[in-house]
C-alpha cells in the first residue's frame, strides 16, 4: 500500500478533505471519515449494491471505487439526495410503499432508482427490474421496492411536467 495522501472530494455538494491511502475504497471514507452511514458495506466486491452512491449522477458501488479515482467528480450519497426538510421524490416513494424490511439494502435500491431516472426519465417495468438486477435484497422486499420504483417514476414524470409547464410559462411571459 502507498502512504496516505490528502485528497479533496466533492460529496453532497460540499468540498471535503480527507487523509487516506488513494486505494482506500470510497465506502470507508464516506462512512468512517465523513460519517455518512447511508451507503452500507455488503460484500466489498461490487456484487450486492448496498454501498451504492451516485458519481456524477451515475449509480456506482462505492466499495470498489478507489479514493484516488474520484477526482473532481460529484459524489452524492443517500443523505445528499434530500435537502434539510424535504424528501427526494424517490425517497418519498420508498417510504410511502413501505419498501423495506430490514432496510439494509434500501440505500442501494434508492440510489439505483435515482440513477435510472437520471438516464431514463420514463422507465417501463423491465427497465426498472434491469436497473435493480444486481441489487440484492434478502428479506424479499422486491414487490414493495418495485412498487416504490414505479411510484418514483410517476413522481419524476409529474415533476417534469410541472417544470416544463413552468418553463413554457416563462417562455410565454418572456
Amino acid at each position: 500500500m502507498t502512504p496516505p495522501v490528502s485528497v479533496s472530494l466533492i460529496v453532497n455538494d460540499a468540498i471535503r478533505r480527507v487523509e487516506a491511502k488513494p486505494e482506500t475504497p470510497l465506502l470507508y471514507i464516506l462512512r468512517n471519515d465523513l460519517s455518512l452511514n447511508g451507503p452500507k458495506y455488503g460484500c466489498g466486491l461490487g456484487e450486492c449494491g448496498a454501498c451504492a452512491v451516485l458519481v456524477d449522477g451515475r449509480a456506482v458501488r462505492s466499495c470498489t471505487v478507489p479514493l484516488g479515482a474520484v477526482g473532481t467528480r460529484q459524489v452524492t450519497t443517500l443523505e445528499g439526495l434530500s435537502a434539510e426538510r424535504s424528501l427526494h421524490p424517490v425517497q418519498r416513494a420508498f417510504i410511502e410503499e413501505a419498501a423495506a424490511q430490514c432496510g439494509y439494502c434500501l440505500n442501494g435500491m434508492i440510489i439505483a432508482i435515482v440513477g435510472l431516472l437520471h438516464r431514463n426519465s420514463d422507465p417501463d417495468e423491465s427497465d426498472i427490474r434491469e436497473a435493480l438486477r444486481h441489487h440484492l435484497c434478502r428479506c424479499g422486499t422486491h414487490m414493495e421496492i418495485l412498487a416504490a420504483a414505479r411510484r418514483a417514476a410517476v413522481y419524476a414524470k409529474a415533476e417534469r411536467a410541472s417544470s416544463s409547464a413552468s418553463a413554457d410559462t416563462t417562455e410565454v411571459s418572456s
Binding site: 500500500m1 502507498t2 496516505p4 470507508y28 468512517n32 460519517s35 455518512l36 452511514n37 447511508g38 452500507k40 458495506y41 455488503g42 460484500c43 466489498g44 466486491l45 456484487e47 458519481v55 456524477d56 451515475r58 458501488r61 470498489t64 471505487v65 478507489p66 479515482a69 474520484v70 477526482g71 443517500l78 443523505e79 439526495l81 434530500s82 425517497q91 420508498f94 417510504i95 413501505a98 419498501a99 423495506a100 424490511q101 430490514c102 432496510g103 439494509y104 439494502c105 440505500n107 434508492i110 423491465s126 427490474r129 434491469e130 435493480l132 444486481h134 441489487h135 440484492l136 435484497c137 434478502r138 428479506c139 424479499g140 422486499t141 422486491h142 414487490m143 414493495e144 421496492i145 418495485l146
Partner: protein, 1182 residues
C-alpha cells in the same frame, strides 16, 4: 458519534413520577419491566425480542397503544437491550407476536385498569361510566372534565405486577390493531439517519478484523481450536496504524486505527495452519447424512404401517434431499465492544441478547451482570447468523487492546462461517391401496443441526469442539393428512457442517416431502391433486384455506400432467402445496396456515424454470398490522422461491467454498414472480406467527408445478437448469470443438539446462566474453545539462517505460528491486538512480551508453536481456544522452535491491557474450524513406525506446526475441500473455489507429477493453509523452495490422456482440456454475455498462490461453479512470475490479473462465490445460 444506548431499567425504577408495570413487585428493582408511563404521559414498552426486519417494533407498539387506548405515536418500543428489557430468550420461531407479546398486552391492560381506578377515585365517577381514548379519560355522561395519562401518572411512583386477569379490550373494539400502520423505522432508513449496529461509533473506537482458520464452516472435531501453527507478526509490522495482533487458540484478530488498515493487516498477516481433515461430500449430502450417527425418535405410530405397506396395491418409496443453504444476510455481521475494568458493553445485532450475554460471560470469565448488551438492528437474518460470533470477536479484541473495537466480518467470512440451514434427507415409504387411497405413510427425516455455539468459544478452546444434538428436526414432521397407517421417525443427529436454525426450520424440507408425496399419490391414483388432498385433510381451517386459494387462483382440476401445454421451448405447469408451520419443542405450536399455487414455465432448451406467479393464501389468525403480514408473505414467497430454484452451499473436502453471491446466488428482480396474496380474515382468533409460514409450502408447490409441466418429478433441490436439463435430455454433452495448436511458451521447448550450456558455450568461443570495466566518475554535475535536454530525457524515460521495471518496492522511482520470473530464474531490476554506491551515479556516459546498447554493465559484467538493450541499441545518440542527463537529475536512493542470482549455468554471465553475438544487432534504427515522418517517429518509438517487442514477441529457447513473423506477434511477460500487435491479433475487432491511440493514451479502447497488469503501468509511465508521439506510435502499429477502417471495426464489433448474445444459452450449458458466478459476481459491471467495453471485444477472452483472465480475476484491475486521469475521455469507469483471490477458489475461477470463453469468444475452442495456466499465474504473482 452515533453511540446508541438505551436508558437502563434502573432509571425508570428510580423515576419519581412514573407508573411501572413489572413482572413481580416483590422482586423490587430486580423485577422485569414491561411498561413505563412517564409524567408526560408517554408510554415506553419493553420486549426482550428484537426486530429482525419484520416490523415487530411497529406491531408491538400497535398492541400496546390499542390496549392502553393511547395514540400510536405516544408509544416507544425498547427491544432486546439487556439493560432494560425482560429476558424473553431468543427471537426465533415466529414467536414474538404469538407468545412474547402476550405479557406486554397484559401489562398494558394492567396499566389502563390502574389509571381508570385512579381517575374514578379522583373524580368520584364510577368505573363503568368512564371512557378512555387517545390517552384521555372522560365521563360517559358528558361532564366537563378530562384527565390525561400525564395528569394521572404525575405525583407518584407506582409499581404494579402484571395482572393476568386484567380486563382485555375485546377485539371488536379495536381501532388500531388490525390497521396497517406505516412502519416507524422506514423514513429514517430511507434517508440514512437510522443507526444500524454497523453505524455505531464510540469515542476512541478502533477497527478490528478477524482471521479465521482454514476449516471454514466447520465447528467441531479434534483439530478445531488447535490448528494454528504459527503467526508471523513481522509480516505486518510495517503497516502504519496497526495497533495489535491477538491470538488465542485458533482465534486471530488484528486491530488498527482505520478500517482499511485493519483489512490490509488481516489480509497480509502470514499465518501457518495445520491441514484440515477431510469431510464427507456435502455437495451431494444424502450419503453423508445417512452415515452420520443418529438417534431415532418416533413421533407417531398409528394403524399398522408394516402390514399396510406389505399390502399396498402400488408401492411408492421415495427419497427427498434438501441441500445446505444459507441465511445470506446482506450486511455481514458487525459489532462494537468496549471492555473496561468495570465491565463490558457490546453493541450487537444479535437475535439473542440474553443467551449471548451468557456466552460472553463464559468467554471472558465475567459475571453476567457486568455485561451490557445494546441491541441495534442489523441486516435481516432469518435464523442464527454470525451476529453473536462477531460480538464475541469484538469483546476479545477490545479486552486485548484496552479500547473500544468495532469488528466487521467480511462477506467471505459471513458466507463461510454463518451456521447454515442444514441439509436434510426425507424418506417416505408408502403407496396406494386398491381404492387409490394412501396405503401407509412411513416417514423418516434426518436433520444434522444444533444451536451452533458462539464461534469464539470454540476457537479459543473455552468450549470443547464437540457437537451436541438438539431435537429440531421434528417441525411439521407429522403430515397434515389423515393417513390411517402412519409412522413418523426423526433421526436426531449432530451437525456435519456448522448449522443452526434457518427460516422454516426443518419444516420446509419435511413439507417438501409431504406435499410432493401426496401429489405423487394423487397422480398415481388419477385424481386432481387438490381434490385428493381434501379427501384426507381433517383440519377445517386448512380446508377453508385450500378452498379459498383454489377459487382465488382459478384452479382447474386435472388428473394428469401436461394439461396446460406450452409454446415454443416453454412448457407450462401449476402446482399446489399446503402446510401449517409447527414450531417449538414437539409437539409444538402451530403458526399461521399457508398454501401455495405456483405457476411455472420450464424452458426445455435451457432447463431454466421461471416461477411466473405465486398465489399464496394464509390464515394468520388476528393480524395486528395487515400490511406487515402481507409484506412478510411477500418476503417468504420470494426468499423461498430463491432457495428452491437457486440456492445451495458448495463445499470442498475441507471447507465451505461458496463465499460470495456468484457462488451462492440469490433471486434477482427480473426473476421475481408476480404474487397474489389472499389473507383470510380471522380477526376474532388469536394472532399467529407469520414470519415463516409462507415459506413452508414453496418447494413442493414449485416441484409439483414442474411435474405438471414436464411429467418429471424432482426430489432434490435446487432446481437448477443443469438438473432440469439432465433429467429431460439425459446427459447429452455438446461435442467439444477441436483444440487448435497452441503457441508454445518460449521456455517450454524442452531445452534442458545441459543443452543450454552446450548451446551457449559453443557460442562463447566465438566472441570474447570478457568486457573491460569503465572507470567510475564522480557524480556528474547536473547543472551542465540544459532544461531542454533534461525534459527530452524525461520523455525518453517515459517512452522507454523505465520506471515500470525499475520502480522501487515502495513506489520510489527508479530504485529497482522488482522481481521478474524468467525461465532461467528470478531477475531483479537494478537501482538506476544516481546514487554512487547503489545506483548509476558513478557511471560515465560511455558506461551508460554501453549498458543501454550492448547490455554490459559499467564493471564489465553482462546484463541479462530482461534489460531490453537489443531494442535500445537502435536509439538515437541524442535520446540516450538526454536520458542520461535526466537520470542524473533524479533523487539518489541509497538502497541496494536484491542481486540477481540465476542458477547454474545461467549464472555464468559471460555466456551472454555469445548470446549477444547471435541476437544483438547493435546498429542505429533505420528510418523508412517511403513512409511519413509520423510513421517513422512511431516506428522508432515502438521498436527502440518503447521496446514493445520485449514483451509482445515470442522468445526462442535461449530467451531471445524471435525474428520475422514472430516480431510483435504476441509474447509472454511477467505472468501475462502479451497479445499480438499485428495481424495476428486475436480480438474480434481489428485495431485501428484510433483504437491504438485511445489504448496507449488512456489505457482503454472502446473496441478492445482496458489495460491491466504490466501494460497498465506502461500506459501510466507514458503519460508525459506528447499526444503527437502517442499518435505516431498508433500510426505505426496500425500499419502492422490489416487496414481496418472505422466502419469495418464497427461491423466487427456488432457481429462479436451479436455472437456473444447468441452464445448465452450454450455457454450456460457448458458451464452452469460459471454462468452463475458470472451473473452474481461479474455481470453487475460487465453487462449493460456503458463505461466498460463488452467482454465480447476483450482480446484476453480470444487469446490462446486463459492466463490474463486468471490474472485479472485473481488480482483485480485498477479503475480505468485512474489511468485515464489526464484526459477524462468517455467518462471512464471509476470502479476497480476487485481481486477475487480470497473469494473464489481455483475450481470456481476455471468454471467462470470456461463460461466466459464460451459466451464471449464463441468461435474459439474451449481452453485446454487450464490447470497449467492457473499454476503459471499463481506462481507469477509474488
Amino acid at each position: 458519534m452515533s453511540t446508541h444506548c438505551e436508558i437502563p431499567k434502573s432509571a425508570y425504577m428510580a423515576a419519581d413520577d412514573a407508573l411501572l408495570i413489572v413482572s413481580d413487585t416483590t422482586m423490587g428493582d430486580d423485577a422485569e419491566l414491561f411498561i413505563a408511563i412517564g409524567k408526560d404521559g408517554r408510554v415506553t414498552a419493553f420486549n426482550g425480542h428484537v426486530d429482525l426486519g419484520t416490523g415487530i417494533r411497529t406491531s408491538l407498539a400497535q398492541i400496546v397503544a390499542e390496549e392502553l387506548s393511547v395514540p400510536f405515536e405516544h408509544v416507544d418500543m425498547v427491544l432486546g437491550a439487556t439493560s432494560a428489557t425482560p429476558n424473553q430468550g431468543a427471537t426465533i420461531a415466529s414467536e414474538t407476536i404469538q407468545i412474547a407479546a402476550v405479557p406486554l398486552r397484559l401489562a398494558a391492560a394492567t396499566a389502563l385498569h390502574h389509571l381508570l381506578m385512579k381517575a374514578s377515585a379522583r373524580t368520584g365517577v364510577a368505573l363503568n361510566r368512564l371512557l378512555v381514548g387517545n390517552g384521555v379519560v372522560r365521563a360517559s355522561t358528558g361532564e366537563n372534565w378530562s384527565l390525561t395519562f400525564a395528569d394521572l401518572v404525575s405525583g407518584e411512583h407506582m409499581r404494579l405486577s402484571i395482572d393476568t386477569d386484567a380486563p382485555l379490550k375485546p377485539a371488536s373494539a379495536y381501532t388500531l390493531v388490525g390497521t396497517s400502520r406505516p412502519r416507524v423505522d422506514i423514513p429514517a432508513k430511507a434517508t440514512g439517519r437510522w443507526t444500524y449496529v454497523h453505524d455505531v461509533r464510540v469515542p476512541g473506537m478502533l477497527h478490528g478484523r478477524v482471521v479465521r482458520p482454514p476449516y471454514a464452516g466447520f465447528d467441531h472435531g479434534e483439530h478445531v481450536g488447535k490448528s494454528l501453527i504459527s503467526i508471523d507478526e513481522s509480516s505486518i509490522a510495517g503497516i502504519d496504524g496497526l495497533i495489535g495482533v491477538v491470538a488465542i487458540g485458533d482465534f486471530i484478530g488484528v486491530v488498527a486505527t482505520r478500517e482499511e488498515i485493519a483489512i490490509e493487516a488481516a489480509k497480509s498477516l502470514k499465518v501457518v495452519w495445520r491441514d484440515s481433515p477431510e469431510r464427507p461430500d456435502l455437495n451431494a449430502p444424502e450419503a453423508a447424512l445417512r452415515a452420520n450417527p443418529a438417534t431415532a425418535r418416533k413421533l407417531a405410530d398409528r394403524g399398522n404401517v408394516d402390514l399396510a405397506l406389505a399390502g399396498s396395491a402400488v408401492s411408492m418409496d421415495r427419497t427427498y434431499v434438501w441441500p445446505y443453504q444459507m441465511h445470506g444476510s446482506i450486511g455481514p455481521s458487525c459489532a462494537v465492544a468496549d471492555y473496561r475494568d468495570d465491565g463490558l458493553t457490546v453493541w450487537s445485532g444479535t437475535q439473542n441478547p440474553f443467551p449471548m450475554r451468557r456466552d460472553l460471560a463464559l468467554l471472558l470469565d465475567l459475571p453476567e451482570d457486568m455485561i451490557l448488551v445494546e441491541r441495534l438492528e442489523a441486516a435481516g437474518c432469518y435464523g442464527r447468523n454470525c451476529a453473536d460470533d462477531v460480538t464475541a470477536d469484538a469483546a476479545l479484541l477490545s479486552r486485548a487492546v484496552k479500547a473500544p473495537v468495532r469488528v466487521q466480518l467480511s462477506r467471505e467470512q459471513e458466507h463461510a462461517w454463518e451456521p447454515k440451514g442444514a441439509a436434510q434427507v426425507m424418506d417416505v415409504r408408502g403407496g396406494l391401496d386398491l381404492e387409490g387411497g394412501p396405503s401407509a405413510y412411513d416417514f423418516e427425516t434426518r436433520y444434522p443441526s444444533n444451536l451452533a455455539p458462539t464461534l469464539p468459544l470454540i476457537l479459543t478452546g473455552k468450549v470443547p469442539p464437540v457437537s451436541d444434538v438438539v431435537q429440531m428436526g421434528d417441525r411439521t414432521a407429522i403430515p397434515p393428512y389423515a393417513y390411517s397407517n402412519l409412522r413418523v421417525t426423526v433421526h436426531d443427529m449432530p451437525p456435519i457442517a456448522r448449522a443452526s436454525w434457518f427460516r422454516g426450520v426443518s419444516a420446509m424440507p419435511n413439507t417438501f416431502a409431504h406435499e410432493c408425496y401426496v401429489d405423487e399419490l394423487a397422480a398415481a391414483a388419477g385424481v386432481d391433486p387438490i381434490e385428493y388432498r381434501l379427501r384426507y385433510l381433517p383440519d377445517p381451517r386448512a380446508v377453508d384455506l385450500v378452498n379459498a386459494l383454489a377459487e382465488r387462483a382459478k384452479w382447474v382440476p386435472h388428473k394428469t400432467w401436461g394439461t396446460l401445454g406450452g409454446e415454443g421451448d416453454l412448457l407450462y405447469g401449476r402446482g399446489f402445496a399446503y402446510a401449517v408451520y409447527i414450531h417449538g419443542p414437539f409437539p409444538g405450536k402451530a403458526a399461521a396456515w399457508a398454501a401455495w399455487i405456483a405457476d411455472v414455465a420450464v424452458n426445455t432448451k435451457t432447463g431454466e424454470i421461471a416461477v411466473t406467479k405465486v398465489t399464496c393464501a394464509q390464515d394468520s389468525g388476528m393480524m395486528i398490522n395487515p400490511d406487515g403480514v402481507r409484506h412478510q408473505i411477500h418476503g417468504n414467497v420470494i426468499q423461498s422461491t430463491s432457495r428452491v430454484l437457486k440456492e445451495k452451499v458448495e463445499f470442498s473436502t475441507t471447507a465451505v467454498t461458496s463465499k460470495e453471491w456468484g457462488g451462492y446466488s440469490l433471486i434477482t428482480f427480473p426473476e421475481v414472480p408476480d404474487i397474489d396474496v389472499l389473507m383470510v380474515p380471522r380477526q376474532d382468533e388469536p394472532p399467529l406467527g407469520v414470519g415463516e409460514s409462507a415459506s413452508v409450502p414453496s418447494a413442493s408447490a414449485i416441484a409439483n408445478a414442474v411435474y405438471d409441466a414436464t411429467g418429471i418429478r424432482f426430489r432434490e433441490l435446487p432446481l437448477t437448469p443443469e438438473l432440469v436439463l439432465a433429467a429431460m435430455n439425459g446427459d447429452k454433452k455438446e461435442p467439444s470443438p477441436e483444440t487448435p495448436a497452441k503457441k508454445r511458451r518460449w521456455w517450454k521447448s524442452g531445452l534442458s539446462a545441459a543443452g543450454a550450456v552446450a548451446a551457449v558455450s559453443g557460442i562463447v568461443t566465438m566472441s570474447s566474453p570478457w568486457r573491460p570495466a569503465i572507470a567510475t566518475i564522480s557524480r556528474p554535475d547536473t547543472n551542465v545539462y540544459s532544461d531542454a535536454t533534461i525534459e527530452r530525457g524525461r520523455l525518453v524515460a517515459a517512452a522507454g517505460a523505465c520506471n515500470v521495471c525499475h520502480i522501487g518496492p515502495d513506489g520510489t522511482p527508479f530504485a529497482g528491486g522488482r522481481r521478474f520470473d524468467t525461465p532461467f530464474g528470478a531477475v531483479y531490476a537494478t537501482n538506476i538512480t544516481p546514487d554512487v554506491e547503489n545506483g548509476i551515479g558513478a557511471w560515465s556516459y560511455p558506461a551508460f551508453e554501453r549498458a543501454m546498447r550492448e547490455g554490459v554493465s559499467r564493471d564489465g559484467h553482462h546484463l541479462y536481456p530482461a534489460h531490453p538493450y537489443t531494442s535500445f541499441a537502435g536509439a538515437e545518440d541524442a535520446d540516450l544522452q538526454a536520458l542520461y542527463a535526466y537520470m542524473m537529475t533524479q533523487a539518489p536512493v541509497a538502497e541496494k535491491p536484491p542481486e540477481t542470482a540465476l542458477r547454474f549455468p545461467y549464472n555464468i554471465r559471460s555466456m551472454m557474450a555469445g548470446w549477444n553475438t547471435l541476437f544483438l544487432r547493435n546498429e542505429p534504427f533505420r528510418y523508412a524513406k517511403a513512409r511519413t515522418a509520423e510513421w517513422n517517429r512511431g516506428a522508432y518509438l515502438v521498436e527502440t525506446l518503447g521496446h514493445c517487442s520485449a514483451c509482445h514477441t515470442e522468445r526462442n529457447t535461449l530467451g531471445a526475441e524471435k525474428g520475422r513473423k514472430a516480431h510483435l506477434s504476441g509474447g509472454f511477460a511477467d505472468g501475462w500473455d502479451a497479445p499480438a500487435l499485428n495481424t495476428f491479433a486475436k480480438g474480434p475487432v481489428g485495431w485501428t489507429e484510433e483504437a491504438f491511440y485511445d489504448y496507449l493514451r488512456t489505457g482503454h479502447s472502446r473496441d478492445h477493453g482496458s489495460a491491466a497488469g504490466p501494460m497498465a503501468h506502461v500506459v501510466q509511465v507514458m503519460r508525459p509523452l506528447p499526444d503527437k508521439d502517442i499518435r505516431a506510435m498508433a500510426t505505426y502499429l496500425a500499419s502492422l495490422n490489416d487496414a481496418t477502417g472505422p466502419e469495418e471495426a464497427a461491423a466487427q464489433k456488432e457481429a462479436a456482440i451479436i455472437a456473444s448474445d447468441a452464445a448465452r444459452a450454450n455457454a450456460a450449458r457448458i458451464s452452469p456454475k460459471g454462468e452463475r458466478i458470472f451473473n452474481g459476481a461479474c455481470a453487475t459491471c460487465h453487462q449493460g455498462n456503458t463505461g466498460l467495453s463488452s467482454l465480447a471485444l476483450n482480446t484476453n477472452l480470444h487469446a490462446n490461453t486463459p492466463d490474463n483472465i486468471f490474472q485479472v480475476i485473481l488480482n483485480g484491475v485498477e479503475a480505468p479512470a485512474i489511468l485515464a486521469e489526464s484526459t477524462r475521455r468517455d467518462a471512464p469507469e471509476v470502479m476497480s475490479m476487485p481481486a477475487f483471490r480470497e473469494t473464489l477458489n481455483e475450481m470456481q475461477i476455471k468454471d467462470l473462465a470456461a463460461y466466459l470463453r464460451a459466451r464471449f469468444a464463441p468461435d474459439k475452442a474451449a481452453w485446454s490445460d487450464t490447470e497449467s495456466a492457473m499454476q503459471r499465474v499463481i506462481s507469477s504473482t509474488h
